[in-house]
Amino acid sequence: MTEVTLDTTSEQPDFGNYVSLLKPRVMSLVVFTAAVGLVVAPGSMNLVLAFASILFIALGAGASGSLNMWWDADIDRIMKRTQSRPIPSGKVTANSAMLVGLWMSVLSIGMLGLASNWLAASLLAFTIFFYAVIYSMWLKRSTPQNIVIGGAAGAFPPMVGWVAATGSISIEAIGMFMLIFMWTPPHFWALALFMNEDYTKAGVPMLTVTHGKRSTRRHILIYTIFLTPFCIGLAFTSIGGPFYFILSILFSIMFLMGAIKLFRRAETAAVADKYFEERKVFRFSLFYLFILFSALLVEAGFRALNFNLTAWPQVF
């Protein structure tokens, strides 16, 4: 006779597993850019409402992260980079990830609408839809341009923050959107250069997989060149200024130099030093975005203290 015992082989998800469904590292970037978008906007906003707005924008981003993990569980299981995520590691079922994602979407959109305004809430809804449906379900597995268009999802948060504060979309919000939108491809392709095997195994049509690394290096350079005018142009809007301008020139040059270096590098050299330069450019690109958005915050601080140049040209 065999003994009957309670099934204790299945994992019991703990709270942290659910938190990691929300992609906390992506969320921290969203909190930061959304907060900058909200703070640099003209006018003043009640602190509680500002805090709540940023929180629900971040939760919305988390919700879309959860939906992404639900949909992509099959390829996450194959890729080394994502194997330890809650679903592939067996901590959380795909179905609960979907439910968490859907309910958190409803909650964050509704609460953002109540805390700020419904234009901001609709933009957040569109962002979640864009990331979960347009990017994850459709583009990611069908075109090497996946991250170019999918990058829009990551570019929306500062715009949502701005709209939460002002109630309308303006050139400054579009400027911040374009900065992240143009930044995403070179940032992500630098990662793809050294994570290529993962994408090949999983059958994700990353540019490195479909067009090779030579072409990816060229694309990184081209997109970094196109990023530059958007980055510097933001200096000549109402949220820019001389401080941002100097940093934007400096960081544009540094990013361009990195891109040129990657472009000139032969694959053999990259393999030899285990993609040292590629990793460096990837890390730098994160720093680049962080510094530029921080510079916008500093400019807002200057304006608040009336410490600004009245002669600074506002072209846009």
Partner: protein, 57 residues
């Protein structure tokens, strides 16, 4: 995983969820107050006349 282990994880989960729910209630209340105030202080009639709230025109 033993029963005991599972129970302790569940207890922690419930506790965390409880804290999140309390935080949510506090936040909704704060948003309500912030929205009601609309930048000014809250004052109203409290069953008795309050001349300081009345239109003096």
């Amino acid at each position: 995983m033993t029963d005991e282990k599972i129970h302790s994880i569940r207890k922690k989960n419930n506790l965390m969820l409880g804290l999140v729910l309390i935080a949510f209630v506090v936040l909704v209340f704060s948003i309500t107050i912030a929205k009601l105030m609309g930048g000014s202080t809250l004052e109203a009639y409290d069953h008795v006349r309050r001349p300081q709230l009345e239109d003096t025109k």
